[in-house]
């Protein structure tokens, strides 16, 4: 009897998860001109600037052509911003229009809500990442050094920033609140996270300060997956990403459980 209950409960959770993920993927696919194409164009412009116009003047970095060196960072930047913005805008939109209540009044466990929205963010992050990679291939050659590291970093990073987007949306009370973090936190961290340079080029003080930037670990781990080069130990970077992901997943689950920003 209790086995049956547990089986039903698991089956219910899987179906509910599929429903949330399908809804999320349908949402960003329906507005692909706003969600999928713009990052490909923006990142394509980086490639234009740093390959033909500036890249040849900058020369090599860590033994790679400059455009080849920055391509993984630019792909990672697209993954980070899109997984974040997908969840923050979708979840806050659901709160604002009140259709988040459809899920809240249903017997959906909080971990399924978390997993569902994060999976939606991962899907968009990965799709945009693939698209930006295809654009990058017009400008440089990219071969994958380690499939496993590349895969793990992409999934974990997009999961981590999807969770960040969810936390932002949970606390947001107006539309301004969902643009503050991307503008004042996410963008500076990304640009200063070793996307365009090796931290070995920085003076020691700035190099040490850079080590506090979580994006640095993601960009370098991903660069290792693609090029086989990283400014920091890959195992250490992967451990840091895992720790941040688990910690923030726990925090966001607690917020959902307590109904912060959702229930009065």
């Amino acid at each position: 009897m209790s086995n049956n209950n547990s089986e039903n409960s698991n089956n219910h959770a899987v179906i509910a998860l599929q429903a949330i993920v399908r809804k999320e993927v349908t949402r960003f696919s329906r507005i692909w001109m706003q969600t999928i194409i713009p990052p490909a164009i923006t990142m394509g412009l980086y490639f234009v600037l740093f390959s033909t116009l500036l890249g040849s003047r900058i020369g090599q970095m860590a033994g790679f052509d400059y455009i080849q060196y920055i391509a993984p960072g630019i792909i990672m930047m697209a993954i980070i911003t899109n997984s974040y913005s997908n969840v923050v805008s979708s979840f806050f939109g659901a709160k604002f229009q009140r259709h988040i209540e459809e899920i809240l009044v249903s017997p959906v466990p909080n971990y399924v809500i978390l997993l569902g929205y994060v999976s939606g963010g991962i899907c968009r992050g990965v799709i945009v990442g693939i698209l930006v990679t295809l654009v990058a291939l017009f400008f440089t050659d990219l071969t994958i050094h380690s499939y496993s590291v590349t895969f793990i970093v992409v999934i974990l990073t997009s999961a981590l920033f999807s969770i960040c987007g969810l936390i932002n949306a949970i606390f947001a009370q107006k539309f301004d609140d969902i643009s503050i973090v991307p503008t004042f936190v996410l963008t500076p961290l990304t640009y200063l996270g070793g996307v365009f340079y090796s931290i070995d080029l920085l003076p020691e003080v700035w190099r040490q300060i850079s080590l506090f930037n979580p994006v640095l670990y993601m960009v370098n781990a991903f660069r290792y997956g693609i090029l086989g080069h990283s400014d920091i130990q890959v195992n250490y970077a992967l451990t840091m990403i895992c720790v941040f992901t688990v910690l923030l997943a726990f925090i966001s689950h607690e917020l959902l459980k307590r109904g912060i920003g959702l229930k009065t």
Binding site: N8, A19, K23, I103, V105
Partner: protein, 308 residues
């Protein structure tokens, strides 16, 4: 306690916002399985707070709620699977189609996609939204949006359906078709709790009633017992010819409206036949007669005013 199975059992439910504003004060409420129950009260009385707590959108301060015997503190997910909620405000995604909204909702209740599609078709036919199934929901009329929320609440076949002012702002034709639909649904075994401002609606549909005011239940009884509490009722009589002089009608208060119409407030213990006989003996021919106010409306005002 009676022998009925309780669909909803609320004990000492209290809600205090920020430790200051008391929205509900130790309310107790029992709704039997199969009942059609009205929860009435003026604006801000606490009706939506009760529904919010039952549906998990509002956190209770203290008290106990059981849905078909399941304590929401022990197994809220199981309890929620038995309830369908139709909220007061529109709360679906305005960019999704009618079918998408209902199929997604079925998914949240653990219903597989094929079954969800079949059930969506069924409920849309029942609520006469079938031809709008592929329409983006924001394009629907107000009445259709209400029916969409009812369809959505029914897709998982809840045993208890709670409707928070479902007919607010819809025209009389839609309202009457909703009444018919809800009556059929109740006859098929679904317990229904209804909040409404249309007291005629409650009187017509519901068998039992609770009146909530200022966070407290001021009345909880059967509709019949409540209506019997009316001390008197006022009727408007329309006569076939001009009435020059009204005869003496003991136990009534008479007010002439114009030459052919007058109001008579009649005590409940008076027999209407006696009134008609006196009028007829005086040569007054009554052409039509109607209640001046909805009976429940009079009682409701009495109860709410006496609570102030």
């Amino acid at each position: 306690m009676n022998n009925h199975t309780l669909a909803l059992e609320i004990t000492n439910l209290t809600k205090t916002y920020r430790g200051k504003v008391t929205a509900l004060s130790k309310i107790k409420l029992h709704v039997n399985e199969g009942d059609f129950f009205a929860l009435l009260g003026p604006n801000g009385a606490g009706k939506s707070t009760v529904i919010g707590i039952i549906s998990s959108l509002v956190k209770k301060t203290e008290g106990q709620i059981k849905i078909f015997g399941i304590d929401i503190d022990d197994n809220f997910e199981r309890a929620k699977s038995l309830i369908g909620i139709v909220p007061q405000e529109i709360n679906f995604n305005q960019f999704e189609t009618v079918s998408e909204i209902i199929i997604n909702q079925a998914g949240y209740f653990g219903i597989d996609r094929e079954t969800a599609k079949a059930r969506t078709n069924d409920v849309l036919k029942q609520t006469q939204l079938w031809d709008k199934r592929d329409e983006v929901s924001r394009n629907l009329s107000g009445g259709m949006k209400r029916r969409l929320m009812i369809s959505r609440a029914l897709v998982h076949k809840p045993k208890l359906l709670i409707l928070d002012e479902p007919t607010a702002g819809v025209d009389i034709e839609v309202r009457r078709s909703m009444w018919e639909f809800l009556s059929k649904l109740n006859a098929s075994g679904t317990t229904i709790i209804l909040t409404t401002h249309y007291l005629e609606e409650a009187e017509r549909l519901c068998r039992n009633i609770a009146i909530i005011d200022d966070g407290e239940i001021v009345e909880n009884t059967s509709m019949q017992a409540l209506l019997q509490k009316l001390r008197n009722e006022t009727f408007v009589f329309e006569c076939a010819t001009e009435v020059k002089k009204m005869p003496n009608l003991p136990g009534t208060e008479v007010k002439q409206l114009d030459s052919r119409r007058f109001e008579i407030a009649i005590d409940n213990d008076r027999n209407l036949n006696q009134i008609f006989k006196i009028l007829s003996d005086s040569g007054i021919q009554v052409e039509s007669m109607r209640n001046k106010n909805n009976r429940l409306e009079e009682l409701f005002l009495n109860l709410v005013n006496s609570n102030e």
